[in-house]
Amino acid sequence: MLEFIQGYYAYIFLATAFTIGLYGMMVKQNLMKKVLGMSIVAATTIMFWIVGAYKEGAGVTVLDPRYGVENPEMYLNPLPHTLMLTAIVVAVVTLGVALALLIGIYREYKTLDEPTLLERMK
C-alpha cells in the first residue's frame, strides 16, 4: 500500500488537479475564471510529463565529469524536460491571446460575466 502511494501519489494528484481545471472551464460563469482553469489544465499536463521523466536517485541533465556518459541511470530523462519547455511557451502564448480576446470582449460589452454577456449580445 505504501509503495502504491509512493509510486502514484503524484499521478493521482495531477489527475485531480486536471479535473479541477476542467471544472473551472466548464462550470464557471466568469470568462476570467475560464482562463484560469485553462492555465491550471496546461500546468497540470506539463507536470504530468515531468513526473514521467523522474528516475529514483538521478541528478540534473548536465553532464557531470564524475559519472561520465556510461551510466544513464545517474541522469534524469532529458526528453520530457525539453518537450515541456516547448509546451510551457505554447501555454504562455495561448494565455496571452486569451487575455487579448478578453480585453476585446470587455471593450465591446463592458462585462466578463457570461449571462450578462449573452444578454448584451442580443
Partner: protein
C-alpha cells in the same frame, strides 16, 4: 469596435503613465541593466548550465518591461520602440528558419548543422556553433514578442 478603441487609446491610461514615486524610478533604473546582464549570462551559458534562448529572452524582456512599468510607455520607448518589436520578432524567427535553409542549400537535410559552410571547424563544433546561432534567433523572438504582447494588452 474601432471607435471605442481609439477613444480608449487617445488618453493615457494610468498603466501607461510614469509612476510618481522617485524610489521606484531610481530602483528600476538601477536594477534593469543588471537584469539585462543576467539575461545575457543565462543566454550564453545555456550550453553549460540550465538556460538558453527562452530563459535568456524572457529575462531580457523582463528588464525592458520593468522600465515600461516604472517609467511609463512613452519614456521607455528609446530602449525598445513599440513599432519595431514585431518586425524584430519576425527577424528572429527568420534567423532560425534561415539557418535551416542554409543547410539545405549546402546539401544536407533541413536544420542539419553539419552542413553549415564553416569549413575550418570539425563536425561536433559545427553543431556547437549551430546551436548558438539558432539560440540567438530564439532570444530575439521571445524578447521582442513578450514586449509586443505587453504593449498590445495596454492598448498602444
Amino acid at each position: 469596435m474601432s471607435t471605442s478603441n481609439k477613444e480608449l487609446c487617445s488618453k493615457e491610461t494610468a498603466m501607461m503613465a510614469p509612476t510618481e514615486s522617485p524610489i521606484i524610478h531610481l530602483a528600476s533604473r538601477g536594477i534593469s541593466p543588471v537584469i539585462l546582464l543576467i539575461g545575457l549570462y543565462v543566454f550564453f551559458h545555456g550550453h553549460y548550465s540550465p538556460g538558453g534562448g527562452f530563459q535568456g529572452g524572457v529575462l531580457l524582456a523582463a528588464a525592458i518591461l520593468l522600465l515600461r512599468l516604472s517609467l511609463g510607455t512613452s519614456l521607455s520607448q528609446p530602449i525598445m520602440p513599440s513599432w519595431i518589436t514585431l518586425r524584430l520578432s519576425a527577424l528572429g524567427a527568420l534567423i532560425f528558419a534561415g539557418i535551416g535553409l542554409v543547410s539545405i542549400l549546402f546539401g544536407g537535410n533541413y536544420l542539419d548543422y553539419h552542413y553549415l559552410p564553416i569549413p575550418w571547424l570539425d563536425p561536433a563544433y559545427l553543431r556547437y556553433y549551430g546551436i548558438l546561432l539558432v539560440e540567438v534567433g530564439v532570444t530575439i523572438t521571445v524578447m521582442t514578442t513578450l514586449v509586443a504582447i505587453y504593449d498590445d494588452l495596454l492598448g498602444c
